[in-house]
């Protein structure tokens, strides 16, 4: 049996691993924002999980909010972000749906799983961008530090200098797992698609 035969045969196993990676993403930060400033040689940062926002260090969130009050940014309060309550259920739904796909081995359901995950990801990234936009632009007009024309929106991905702070935004382990999950699921669908073409050709 050569490699392509193995892939053809065990294709759904690959999909199953992808679903498990999606499930695992719940246990790791999905996105990370790291902040560096001259006064913070030790660095500080945020870790965005499916269901909460934590500091990279124990007190980073608290300290970041303290710094942000100078520019009038709203306090980052994880309890005030409804998405953090919804995302775990989306992951749960996708994992259960994935289990159905795995058991039935239905190609159309596999396609649907792929499309829904892509939709969720796009919505999620857009939503994340909008939160960043909101924090960066909706500033208290009475803030002590006002720089005309300055907004403090951190980058979606990549780095950006915001006054004395350099913000670096990257997917975390959870985020990488979700992308890998999508990659393996779409690969699985691709294989299924080729398989069905072959069957047609043979006919």
């Amino acid at each position: 049996m050569n490699l392509s035969e193995i892939i053809l045969k065990k294709n759904y196993l690959l999909f199953g691993i992808g679903v498990m990676m999606l499930a695992a993403s719940y246990f790791f930060p999905i996105w990370t924002i790291d902040l560096n400033a001259p006064q913070y040689p030790e660095g500080m940062g945020l870790r965005i999980w499916a269901d909460e926002i934590r500091g990279a260090g124990e007190h980073d969130l608290n300290n970041l909010n303290k710094l942000n009050h100078y520019i009038g940014m709203k306090e980052i309060d994880p309890d005030a972000i409804p998405e953090l309550k919804i995302i775990p259920f989306i992951i749960l739904f996708m994992v259960l749906f994935g289990a159905v796909v795995f058991i039935t081995k239905n190609k159309k359901l596999l396609l649907a799983w792929n499309i829904i995950l892509i939709l969720f990801l796009l919505i999620g990234l857009y939503d994340f961008y909008m939160w960043e936009y909101d924090y960066g632009h909706d500033l208290n007009p009475n803030a002590p530090i006002k720089v005309p024309g300055m907004a403090y929106q951190p980058p979606l991905i990549g780095s950006k200098q915001l006054l004395n702070i350099n913000a670096v935004s990257l997917p975390g382990i959870g985020g990488i797992l979700i992308f890998l999950s999508l990659a393996s699921a779409s690969f699985s669908y691709g294989v299924e698609y080729i398989k069905s073409k072959r069957v047609k050709n043979v006919k």
């Binding site: 303290k66 710094l67 100078y70």
Partner: protein, 647 residues
């Protein structure tokens, strides 16, 4: 013609003197980029060692980096420290409590690091108060004084706090003998009434708490310094004494008459047995134990009423006297634990006793006499060797772990390097000037780090830019990694550094506390958030539960306080970020300003004297809006009815 004839010899003599001056100067100036490279710690890089120096008459401990000689911190210990409120605030005043009341100063001599298996372990640093006998313990995760224990039945606590090899005990000996217990007697009745004590202070291995396990009553000499045995001599401790003449006046003459004084060798493991057998007697002795707690952020003073005393007359084999030439000062035990080196400060040799010979002499009862029931071992039976040509006024010896010893010679102002076993002097280097103690990192432990030696000098004279009659004190860093000692650096110190200790940086730097957890703050007047801030009146006491955070006080406007009230500003620093302390000061406050670490609570007590509105502000530049960190308290007339309010 005459002029011409004299010119040549004149030029010759000028040139000759330049040559001589040049030669004479060579020793004091390293003059090579080699030395500069060895002490240069580039910006942002770290020193190899933390060095803890006694502040002497400043009563504090200072922390320096080696090899750079840079000062990092002054740790307040026995003296009030107005820059952060130590010894002024209700939280820290109990640290300075003694049976004589609060004493805001002392004379601190000998820092000593805790040890495990004979090696410095970086748990705690101990230091003695010479004047009002006390020992302090500094925690090396916070670099703060956590405990001070008064030592009763002591006339002056010079010979302390030297540790046993697992810090089972630190020892302390009384420099001055006094009547024990104290009583009103003629000074001339010295020989009849005066005695000394050697104290063994038990260290709790879990929390470092210090308690006096027992004291040993000893003949009325002056007990000077000490060191505990290690390796084979573990279980013994050695104490130098002078004034075996028992003079009570003009000691410089009268205490220098005997050819030999004594080192007292104490078998403390046997002392433990005697204590178990109930040989100790309880003496009524009033003294204080003061302990600081990092969760209540408050020290508590506890009065103790009695202490257990062993009398060598009831405890045979507890102490032996080793005759030692001429008023010995330091007593230092080499890393192997075999050699006991004495600094006979008026002697022309350094006597080195042998522990194994001492044990043999005790077995053979090789005694020449008996002093107040304590056997005196024959000098020839205990001596291992004498270091000849050791310089004048040898005081202290440290070891490099490679078979060499280094002795400070005060009068000839030099460090003398000699070999253990052969007793020959192999090198010497001048100190500028009049060295007292010297220190090699780990140099009194079983594992010295024999790379650097610090000479701790008593006289400074022309070494730095002059600053009027009072000059800085001086330390000198010497490279001892090669065969020849090399002077690398002079650096000034705060107060008089008697002794010092040092430890490799990696043993401490990664366990430093950065903030105190606000959640664990159990200060009775501490608060966890701005919502809990309030002002309460209890009779004439006004308690303000205040917070600091970047960049404001809460509350920052307070009214309803009258002349005659006592105002307590209980301030909790809500910050949980590294290196963000806040300060506090109110106009006309007669105590001290505060420095409040993140998560800590401190109290400033203020008694307003006159009506008016008084500003308060943050004294530590905390952030971009530090200058805005201020507030007002309104003071109304005595018995005024201004409503208590705050926001």
């Amino acid at each position: 013609m005459l002029k011409k004839n004299l010119l040549a010899p004149f030029i010759f003599s000028v040139m000759l003197s330049i040559v001589f001056i040049g030669c004479a100067d060579n020793g004091s100036k390293p003059g090579t980029s080699d030395a500069a490279e060895k002490v240069y710690v580039a910006p942002g890089e770290y020193d190899e060692f933390y060095s803890f120096m006694s502040g002497g008459f400043s009563g504090q401990v200072t922390v320096y980096g080696l090899p750079s000689g840079r000062l990092f911190k002054v740790i307040p210990v026995f003296s009030q420290f107005p820059e952060n409120g130590y010894g002024y605030t209700p939280e820290t005043r109990p640290m300075l409590q003694t049976s004589y009341g609060e004493i805001p100063w002392d004379d601190a001599h000998h820092p000593e690091l805790s040890q495990t298996n004979g090696e410095v372990d970086g748990r705690w640093l101990f230091i003695n108060a010479n004047n009002t006998p006390r020992v302090a313990r500094i925690d090396l995760t916070t670099f703060e004084t956590e405990e001070i224990l008064e030592i009763p039945n002591s006339g002056g606590n010079h010979g302390s706090p030297f540790t046993t090899m697992n810090t089972e005990y630190i020892v302390a000996s009384t420099r001055f003998s006094v009547p024990i217990p104290q009583k009103d007697v003629p000074i001339s009745s010295y020989k009849e009434n005066f005695q000394g004590t050697l104290s063994f202070i038990k260290i709790n291995p879990d929390n470092g708490h210090m308690d006096i396990a027992f004291q040993i009553l000893v003949p009325g000499f002056d007990y000077d310094l000490a060191h505990a045995g290690k390796g084979p001599s573990h279980g013994w401790a050695f104490f130098t004494s002078y004034n075996s003449e028992q003079a009570n006046t003009l000691l410089e003459i009268n205490a220098s008459q005997n050819d030999k004084d004594f080192i007292a060798a104490v078998n403390w493991k046997l002392a433990e047995e005697y204590v178990k057998q109930g040989k100790g007697k309880e003496y009524k002795s009033e003294y204080y134990s003061n302990r600081y707690n990092n969760e209540t952020h408050t020290a508590v003073s506890e009065k103790r009423e009695k202490v257990l005393i062993l009398d060598p007359a009831d405890c045979p084999g507890l102490i032996y006297y080793l005759p030692t030439p001429k008023s010995p000062h330091g007593v230092d035990v080499d890393p192997s634990g075999e050699y006991i080196v004495a600094g006979g400060k008026l002697a022309t040799v350094i006597p080195v006793h042998s522990f194994s010979k001492m044990i043999k002499a005790i077995e053979n009862k090789d005694f020449i006499s008996d002093m107040y029931g304590i056997p005196v071992i024959k000098y020839e039976s205990v001596i291992a060797g004498e270091v000849e040509n050791c310089g004048l006024g040898p005081l202290h010896t440290e070891f490099d772990g490679n078979g060499y010893a280094y002795t400070s010679a005060f009068i000839s102002s030099e460090v003398v390097k000699w070999k253990l076993g052969t007793w020959e002097v192999v090198d010497r280097i001048p100190s500028y000037y009049s060295i007292g103690h010297l220190m090699i990192p780990g140099g009194d432990s079983q594992k010295p780090f024999g790379k650097y030696l610090v000479s701790l000098n008593k006289i400074t004279k022309d070494r730095y830019l002059p600053t009027g009659p009072e000059l800085c004190q001086s330390a000198q860093l010497i490279d001892i990694s090669g065969d020849k000692m090399k002077l690398l650096l002079d650096f000034p110190t705060i107060g008089e550094p008697h002794y010092a200790q040092a430890i490799p940086a990696e043993k401490l730097m990664n366990k430093q506390v950065k903030i105190f957890e606000l959640e664990k703050n159990k200060h009775p007047y501490g608060v966890k958030s701005e919502k809990e801030t309030k002002v309460e009146r209890k009779g004439n006491d006004v308690h303000i539960y205040m917070t600091t955070t970047r960049t404001h006080f809460k509350p920052d406007n307070i009214e309803g306080v009258n002349v005659g009230d006592k105002v307590y500003f209980h301030i909790t620093n809500l910050e949980q970020d590294w290196d963000i302390p806040h300060g506090f000061a109110v106009k006309g406050m007669r105590t001290a300003e505060l420095l409040i670490m993140p998560g800590q609570t401190r109290t400033a007590v203020w008694e307003p004297q006159r009506e008016g509105v008084y500003p308060f502000y943050c004294t530590d530049f905390c952030s971009a809006l530090h200058q805005e960190m201020q507030g007002y308290i309104r003071i109304s007339g005595k018995n005024s009815n201004t409503k208590l309010s705050f926001n």
